[in-house]
């Protein structure tokens, strides 16, 4: 059996980040990517928070092919006949080093794969790994078709479905409770039109999330990210929520998932945003949303788990992260493998530094901080009552009717008492203190 020092299964952001660090240190590393190129099988919403990862490979990020630096953050609560948008623009979002960028994965991942290649790693496209080879409890390599390749260590960066690692018994199979479906259209629009529609300076972008209505009360929402000359318009919906809704309504009465995006796009609030655009691509992906409770064992004899395969993603309702975690986990995987190589010990003990450094870093710290968020987000009122109630309250505050208008305080207080001061909302506020 042919053998290399390190095999990386999956050439997405986690795998490429690991390979970059290893190749830079002279470790013999081979990245196996099942797509035609890195990014061919990947989907983001999407936006990459770069602030958390600037410190890793700092030479890379200034030249990365990002789409737009996010200058405007919008969240729209869609009610019944009324909607409320909160828009935040802070100088710090786009200071000398913007905190986040919109991205498209085919462009970003191919670029990173080239950088990894320049460091001396071998990135092999069109190579689907069929199995992780296990011997006496230890991962000793991979099988792809007829070929077996041995390795001192395998970096598992196979993505959210973790077909290989669950088959090998390294992690549980993904379950609906811990995952959401994300799907989107990439809609081409001239860059000038994008900048006019979202009031952006050249090169700056907007990120807009939509709560209520879009998901018919199910966990999830709509999203819109402005790219250079396209927008990504899509929907995220919890898998368990879809199934519970079907159980309630009966499967024949239920809306097919793809229709949520068509209905979203047809809303009068969305139509002017996409007017004149040309749909260029339709894509879908599963998203890990189980939080820290769903993170599997991160390393064992001969392997480490990274990125989506390790469940490292965090949907905190108005901030949605995953790619920064993927890049960070790849970085720390490379550090751990380098240390293991120096000691000549690729056992679980030799690779234990990986989990330790993730625990010290923002990756597991932020997941730990957000440990109550998955349960909190199962509350359907977040996606039904609150978007409606906020919009109804503000609609009344802004309404001048034909007769006398009550005072502002009386109007606002009446709305607050009606929709925000009852047993349900008090309970929600109580559980919200832990998020």
């Amino acid at each position: 059996m042919e053998k290399v020092e390190c095999i990386v299964v999956g050439g997405g952001l986690a795998g490429l980040s690991a390979a970059y660090g290893l190749a830079d240190a002279g470790v013999e590393v081979m990245v196996l990517e099942r797509g035609d190129y890195s990014g061919a099988k990947n989907v983001t919403g999407g936006r990459l928070y770069t602030s958390p990862i600037r410190g890793f490979y700092p030479e890379l990020w200034d030249e990365a092919p990002f789409e737009r630096a996010v200058a405007r953050e919008l969240v729209t609560m869609l009610g019944e006949g009324a909607q409320t948008t909160i828009e935040v623009a802070a100088d710090s979002f786009t200071a000398e080093r913007p905190q986040s960028y919109t991205v498209l994965r085919a462009r970003l991942d191919q670029w990173l794969a080239e950088k990894v290649g320049e460091k001396g790693a071998m990135v092999v496209p069109n190579m689907k790994v069929d199995a992780l080879l296990r011997e006496e409890g230890r991962i000793i390599g991979i099988r792809a078709g007829e070929d077996e390749i041995g390795a001192d260590v395998v970096i598992v960066a196979e993505g959210v479905l973790r077909l290989l690692s669950s088959e090998a018994g390294l992690a549980a199979e993904p379950v609906d409770r811990d995952h959401a479906l994300g799907f989107k259209e990439v809609i081409e629009l001239p860059s000038g039109v994008i900048e006019d529609r979202w009031h952006l300076n050249p090169g700056e972008g907007a990120a807009q999330l939509f709560l209520g209505k879009v998901t018919l009360g199910m966990l999830g929402g709509g999203f819109l990210y402005t790219n250079r000359d396209s927008i990504s318009l899509g929907v995220v919906v919890g898998m368990k929520a879809m199934r519970e809704r079907a159980a309630k309504l009966g499967p024949d009465a239920v809306t097919e998932s793809y229709q949520l995006l068509d209905q979203f796009k047809a809303l009068p609030q969305i139509r002017p945003l996409v007017a004149g655009g040309t749909v260029a691509e339709y894509s879908a992906h599963s998203i890990p949303e189980g939080g820290i409770a769903a993170v599997p064992k991160l390393a064992g004899d001969g392997y480490v788990m990274t990125g989506d395969a390790a469940g490292l993603a965090l949907n905190a309702l108005i901030t949605v992260r995953g790619m920064d975690f993927a890049i960070a986990s790849g970085y720390y995987a490379a550090e751990a493998v380098k240390a293991a190589k120096a000691r000549g010990d690729f056992s679980a003990a030799g690779l234990a530094g990986y989990e330790a450094s993730l625990r010290e870093s923002f990756v597991l710290k932020d997941l730990q901080t957000a440990s109550q968020i998955p349960a909190f987000m199962e509350n359907p009122r977040l996606f039904t009552h609150y978007p409606r109630a906020v919009s109804r309250l503000l609609e009344q505050v802004y309404t001048i009717g034909p007769g006398p208008t009550p005072g502002l305080f009386k109007t606002a207080w009446g709305g607050i008492r009606r929709d925000f001061m009852n047993a349900g909302t008090v309970k929600d506020a109580w559980s919200a203190r832990r998020i």
Binding site: D176, A247, T255, E256, A266, R271
Partner: protein
Amino acid sequence: MSDENTVNEAAPASEAPSGGAPAAMKIDAKLGLDVFKLDKEPHIVIDTEVCRTQCVDRACLYVCPASLYELDDTGRMTVNWEGCLECGTCLICCDKKALTWKYPSGPYGVQYRMS
């Protein structure tokens, strides 16, 4: 207060756009925008006996974002795997384990140019 919504439940958006919206693109037309390299054999195989005898939920019929699952004239579950976006939602939601679901081999399957 109802958890449900006023958006039309039964009719596809393509048939019932609200307020004079242009008709939505058909899902097949959307899939037609994507680059697919067709595998020689299906990467999704359904144990239709499991569907027939054990499954009442039939989540695959409504969770698939490409709407690839259908019941044929005899009530047997089928999948148009050629248009698969490889998200794996059907696999995760099929708790009766009726699906043998692998990624397409080698150079095959969807190849996103942007996403």
